[in-house]
Amino acid sequence: MKKLLVLSALAAMLASGTALADTSGKKIAFSNNYAGNSWRQAMLDSYGIVTKKAVDDKIVGAADIFTTADKEVPTQAAQVQNLILQGYDAIVINAASPDALNGAIKQACDAGIVVVSFDGIVTEPCAYRVVVDFKDMGKQEVEQMAKFQPKGGNLLEIRGLAGTSIDDAIHAGILEGVAAHPEFKIVGSVTGDWDQTTAQKAVATILPSLPEIVGVVDQGGDGYGAAQAFAAAGKPRPTIIMGNRQDELKWWKEQKDKDGYQTWSASIAPGVSSLAFWVAQQVLDGRKDIPHDLLVPYLAFTQDDFEAALPKIKEGGVATHEYSQEDAIAAIKANIK
């Protein structure tokens, strides 16, 4: 009987694929370099909610958050070194620089500490990187656009912050999507910096010189500004892809209530911080098969489910999703090829 119990327990463990080692005594630190905008605040909130529960459930021993006073690289490097000294078993990090922290990250790895970076990732090979598949997001934008505008037509593209890897990836995805859908043609491109006012100004400036636009493909944080610019210019309202911001979804709902307006919304969820936390927990758990570069899905809303999400987003905030341990295991599995 007892044997049977043990066996079934073992079977359960194998089935779930976790709990190879006990992580209840492990301490995980979060090194964060900036907390000054709504996205980062949502990121910290999600992380706090998920880790507090994990600590209460005795899955990990401690999960503390450390934010540096400035956005400076040396400050965060010193912080990482101090976390090494504090005896943490893992460090989850949103880094100030992809390269300049490598010295400190290497020291952490050498001290046997698991380092998981996300959003602001680090290039040091010993660290793990949780990256959102921005290229696919860009491609999906065009795929979705094809559903709403089956006849095709002219598109306006709004780019993000120049010189960043995120802007590059989304743009590449959009180009790929347009190549697969020759009925669409990008006739104009502006830089919106992921910011409503910047995007509104940029779109308003280019609009008079453009032919009729059927759709706007963008990077999030710029959709509402684009909508305002079209309205101000008295141009017909195109299909504008949204980026999960509260003001964008609110505008979408207003339009939908008015005349059944259809579109699609996607962005990186700030709660990806909690996914990074679970990845760290899984590594501490003894899993050896986790790839160092993890591509995770973005958060998307469709015509059917965006209204349910809207009330949960703070005024001026951005939609998020708290990831669970199962989500992390599924994401890891999807990355093992």
Binding site: D64, T68, L85, Q86, D99, A100, L101
Partner: protein, 326 residues
């Protein structure tokens, strides 16, 4: 007849003793605040007080100490350098790119940048410009050049530099040896040589110096060149630790270096500076700002404010004691 001289002599020596005590206290103050911060760290996290711990906690203090010494030279001449942070960043970018790929060009660029500092000193003296304005302007120039050299983060430190910065000498951690070395070398040069006295005199009593036949132009040029030299050393040390550069890497050093000089017993005017104090001040700031804060477990919402509060407390302690001196 005999009583009077004895009486005055007694009073004189008492005053002298008090002054000497005050000076001693002033000299000991930076060391005292460092000891306090170390005690707090030892109490919060005993594990940090070890060879490994000091190595980790203090290695990023070396570039701060060098930047503080750089700032100290301009402050000795009654000036202020608001561009030292971005200058360190610029040097860092050159170190991670040119100095590795084409060492000769790299060295020339760095020497040239020291030359720019010398010219700034001459410009400030000849045109009688406020150094704050000139160096504030230069801070944007250095930042712009840094972005030109390294448009996105990256680059790699030269191997010899990495080797130096990761030295592991027996018994005493490298950062402590480096700090001692920096402090003693500069102390000897500035406090024990005759030209060092002239340099400090250019801040203390420029009129007397001019009347004695010394060129104030050359003292200013010398002070600014030394600032440039130590700024270069600071940037190189920083890249030796971080292994790779970022155009914004040194921005925080401007204010840290000024705070370090003041904490180390220096004054904004009058040529009153202390190289050893400045190094200790830099170490104290580096320890108080980061390790102490990390070990205290302050809720994340308050960490940024707590960092500022620690700096104010440490600096306020210095002001309290130096007021007793008067």
């Amino acid at each position: 007849m005999t009583a009077a001289p004895i009486d005055t002599g007694f009073k004189g020596s008492a005053a002298r003793n008090a002054a000497a005590r005050a000076r001693l206290l002033r000299g000991l103050l930076p060391a005292l605040s460092l000891a306090l911060v170390l005690l707090a760290i030892a109490w919060l996290n005993p594990r940090a007080i070890s060879y490994f711990g000091f190595n980790l906690m203090l290695n990023l203090a070396i570039p701060i100490a060098l930047a503080t010494i750089a700032q100290m030279f301009v402050i000795a001449g009654n000036e202020l350098d608001l561009s030292i942070g971005t200058f360190v960043g610029f040097v860092g970018c050159v170190t991670a790119t040119w100095l590795k790929e084409a060492p000769l060009i790299g060295v020339l660029i760095l020497l040239g940048s020291i030359g720019v500092y010398a010219l700034l000193g001459a410009l400030i003296h000849l045109r009688n410009l406020p150094s704050i304005v000139v160096t504030l302007g230069m801070s944007f120039v250095w930042q712009g050049l840094a972005i030109l050299v390294l448009p996105k983060p990256g680059g790699k430190a030269p191997d010899w530099l990495l080797a130096i910065m990761s030295l592991k000498p027996p018994f005493v951690p490298f950062p402590i040896i480096a700090a001692l070395l920096i402090g003693l070398v500069v102390h000897f040069g500035l406090m024990r040589t005759s030209y060092g006295t002239i340099l400090r005199g250019s801040g203390g009593n420029p009129a007397a110096l001019r009347r004695a036949g010394w060129s104030l132009l050359w003292t200013k040029v010398a002070l600014f060149s030394l600032t440039g030299l130590f700024g270069v050393l600071s940037g190189m040390a920083l890249i030796g630790i971080t292994t790779s550069a970022d155009a914004n890497i040194g921005n925080g050093y401007t204010l840290l270096s000024i705070a370090g000089v003041i904490l180390g017993g220096g004054e904004f005017v009058g040529g009153r500076v202390s190289p050893i104090g400045a190094v200790i001040g830099a170490l104290t700031l580096a320890l108080a700002a980061s390790p102490l804060l990390t070990f205290m477990h302050i809720p994340p919402d308050w960490q940024v404010a707590a960092n500022g509060a620690i700096l104010i407390i440490v600096l306020a302690a210095r002001v309290l004691i130096s007021r007793k001196e008067r």
